[in-house]
């Protein structure tokens, strides 16, 4: 199993959730976060030497899935979340060794 942990713009949440729903991926956890990347949170160019770190509001989506679904989920997230402007976010893929559904005790793929 793999977990895709992606950071996206808050206003792209609906689009991404919708795209995942279409792929029949409906389990996910969402966290409000703040962050920045290479641009240090600046949306406009700042003069060299000035560093003004700004934490921007983003949304983190954690989704656990079968290995075989990773590629299509990454593609769907990219397409739904992309604007082409700096600050679109990132998606990371993490290996998940185990999973359990608390209500039933089911493990592995049956827990997803």
């Amino acid at each position: 199993m793999k977990m895709i942990s992606c950071i996206i713009r808050p206003d792209k949440l609906e689009a991404v959730a919708s795209a995942l729903d279409t792929l029949k991926i409906i389990g996910m956890t969402l966290t409000d976060v703040r962050g920045f990347g290479r641009q240090k949170g600046q949306t406009e160019r700042t003069p060299e030497g000035e560093s003004n770190l700004r934490f921007l509001s983003k949304v983190k989506l954690d989704i656990v899935m079968q290995d075989g679904d990773v590629d299509k989920v990454l593609a769907a997230i990219g397409e739904a979340a992309r604007t082409g402007a700096v600050g679109d976010g990132k998606a990371f893929v993490i290996d998940v060794e185990g999973a359990m559904r608390i209500r039933t005790g089911e493990k592995g793929a049956n827990a997803l």
Partner: protein, 113 residues
């Protein structure tokens, strides 16, 4: 070392936290309020073949890193205490941790936990 990523109902947090304290095997815990949904798309009544909008429900995320040998014990404890039998009880994922560091001392590995 393994990372236990647990999603539970907010109302079960106190009872889970108290039990982890007593167990004394867990060096630390991180708790984050999150929203989420599973198969029921966030609704608490069973899915009846009707397309329902994705609703995000308040949950609590507990992140714990433990030595490999404690995984089973901690997972069992959390799942027993977080269980209500109703939809929305949550899930526990286990993820391998390659390295850990205690910032204050620079200790690495199990000594960091």
């Amino acid at each position: 070392m393994k990372w236990l990523l647990c999603i539970i109902r907010p109302e079960r947090l106190d009872v889970v936290r108290d039990a982890l304290n007593k167990l004394n095997v867990v060096g630390g815990v991180t708790v984050t309020p999150v929203k989420g949904c599973g198969h029921q798309r966030g609704s608490s009544t069973p899915y009846r073949g009707v397309q329902s909008r994705l609703r995000f429900v308040e949950k609590i995320r507990i992140d714990i890193v433990v030595p490999q040998e404690d995984v089973s014990r901690v997972m069992t404890l959390i799942s027993q205490l977080a269980y209500t039998g109703n939809l929305g009880d949550g899930k526990i994922f286990t993820i391998d941790v390659k390295e850990a560091m205690r910032i204050r001392t620079g200790e690495l590995g199990a000594a960091a936990l």
